[in-house]
């Protein structure tokens, strides 16, 4: 009897201890301790930036007293964040994780910027920052230092990839690793899909659960969606007489979408060629749909008067200020001219900036 009680008590005690450990473990967060030279008293804000929405959200705030502050909290995983100090708006980036992190900041030598015109803020980027205690931060800084310099895009990109590849092979669950790749990809967005996918399969654990991983995956999906073989997303745009045109109304014909603009000389130089192509195939079931990248209607109308293109003319939309036009950006090409050839069902056959690629395909289609 007695023994039974003791046993029960022991079980209860163990259970309590286990729960206790579990609770402590899940409540381990981060402690960010900082010293600041140049600002004595004010506010410290930790912000998280969302690359997709281009919005920042506040993660934590603290008081700066006599150049010192402490901030505590908990994260679902390591994340690159921005740390800013007021008065003024002095900022730096810090790779946060659940650990005891310390940061030393000096406002001397900071770089000032102003993005107020773009719906963002103004302030200064701190140049004198030392972070200790965050493995992710140390790893990312290591990457930045080792891949600094280099002449020309190719050389820089290769240096970055040559660092990233072995790093992620060794640390497949490192969030810093997927962040390196995401940073690299921001500039090298033309990297072949197969190369990118090869790198992406390396990741596991926390890296795979991170927003950096899912953002790249989403981009891969978007790039895959405009590869030959997929249906082109339908669109409705305005024509010169302000009536609407919908792409799917051309079903049953082979259609080439010509992304161009009045200010684009190479695009306009290609028009005489497309006139020949159009004359050759239009009675065999071929249509061209021009989508201009002009943001000023007048320039577009004037160019159409000069060029006299005998096919469908539409104008792309700029729904978000300072962002690329809506329809053309779906094709993730970056420059114009861009030609997209669709089959009778609206499936993408060819996507290219090179007119010869289209010519070859059309010759193949209409050979009989």
């Amino acid at each position: 009897m007695k023994l039974k009680y003791i046993g029960l008590a022991a079980i209860l005690l163990i259970a309590q201890t286990v729960i206790g450990i579990a609770q402590t473990k899940s409540s381990i967060g981060y402690t960010l301790t900082g010293t600041v030279k140049g600002i004595a008293n004010g506010e410290v804000v930790l912000n998280e930036y969302n690359a997709k929405t281009r919005m920042s959200t506040k993660v934590n705030t603290g008081k700066l007293r006599n150049g010192k502050f402490v901030m505590k909290g908990k994260l679902s995983g390591p994340k690159m964040m921005s740390l800013s100090f007021k008065p003024g708006n002095w900022g730096t980036q810090i790779f946060m994780e659940n650990a005891a992190i310390s940061v030393k900041v000096d406002t001397a030598g900071a770089q000032h910027y102003d993005y107020t015109k773009y719906g963002s803020d103004k302030g200064a980027m701190l140049k004198n920052v030392k972070v200790t205690g965050s493995t992710s931060h140390a790893d990312f800084i290591g990457y930045e230092i080792k891949t600094k310099g280099g002449k020309g895009k190719e050389e820089i990109f290769n240096a970055q990839l040559n660092y990233i590849r072995p790093f992620i092979a060794k640390n497949p669950s490192s969030v810093a690793g997927i962040y390196m790749l995401s940073n690299h990809y921001m500039f090298n967005s033309g990297i072949p899909l197969t190369d990118l996918e090869k790198l992406m399969v390396t990741f596991s654990g926390a890296a795979k659960e991170s927003v950096y991983f899912s953002n790249i995956m989403q981009d891969i999906d978007e790039r895959r969606a405009v590869l030959p073989g997929n249906y082109a997303e339908d669109f409705t745009l305005l024509q010169g007489d302000s009536t609407k045109f919908t792409l799917s109304s051309t079903r049953g014909k082979y259609v080439m979408i010509d992304f161009w603009a009045s200010w684009c000389k190479p695009c306009r130089e290609a028009i005489p060629h497309w006139k020949e192509v159009y004359a050759k195939y239009k009675d065999k079931g071929f249509e061209i749909v021009s989508v201009t990248n002009d943001s000023r209607w007048n320039d577009w109308i004037k160019a159409m008067d000069v060029e006299q293109m005998p096919w469908i003319q539409t104008i792309d939309e700029f729904p978000v200020k300072n962002m690329p036009a809506r329809v053309v950006s779906k094709y993730k090409h970056g420059t114009i001219p861009l030609y997209v050839l669709l089959d009778k069902e609206g499936k993408i056959l060819v996507k290219s900036g090179n007119e010869e690629d289209i010519d070859h395909k059309l010759a193949e289609i209409f050979k009989n």
Binding site: D114, Y115, Y118, S120, A261, W263, P266, S295
Partner: protein
């Protein structure tokens, strides 16, 4: 020799930078104080081989002209227009106009009158478009912030 301060090659706040497939034009800035009340701000575009950007004086309906916009400030006033190095000028039949453009590099300069004895920040944005013989990058805005010390 007067002080020449090379200031920030494009403030690279990763927060605002947009992924671009091609970046054939890089901007850098500098400011030179010419007297206690006057200064000149320089904007240099370094242009990749084969690419070009256009003069500020391209007519409507032509290629994307380069446009400088200065944010209003209590600290300084603009003196005259933004000057540019001599562009290559060609009559473009397609646009039916004279078109000035730059290869390799272009330097623009703006004279300013200083209203304050302190360090002056000259801020604004540059809109430009770039083309080579085969393709163009749609008009893009970059911000600048040059400190006159």
């Amino acid at each position: 020799m007067k002080k020449l301060i090379i200031a920030l090659a494009l403030v690279a706040s990763a927060q605002v930078l947009q992924a671009q497939i091609l970046r054939p034009v890089k901007w850098s800035y500098a400011a030179k104080k010419t007297s206690s009340t006057e200064a000149t701000v320089f904007f240099k575009a370094t242009i990749d081989k084969g690419w070009h950007i256009y003069s500020q004086n391209v007519g409507d309906g032509g290629p994307t002209k380069t446009v400088f916009t200065f944010s209003p400030s209590q600290q300084y006033a603009l003196v005259g227009k933004t000057k540019e190095t001599n562009p290559i000028v060609k009559f473009e039949k397609m646009f039916n106009m004279q078109v000035g453009y730059f290869e390799n590099q272009a330097v623009f300069q703006q004279k300013i009158k200083l209203k304050s004895k302190n360090q002056t920040a000259v801020k604004g944005s540059i809109q430009f478009g770039a083309c080579d013989d085969n393709e163009c990058i749609p008009p893009e805005d970059v911000n600048f912030n040059v400190t006159v010390k």
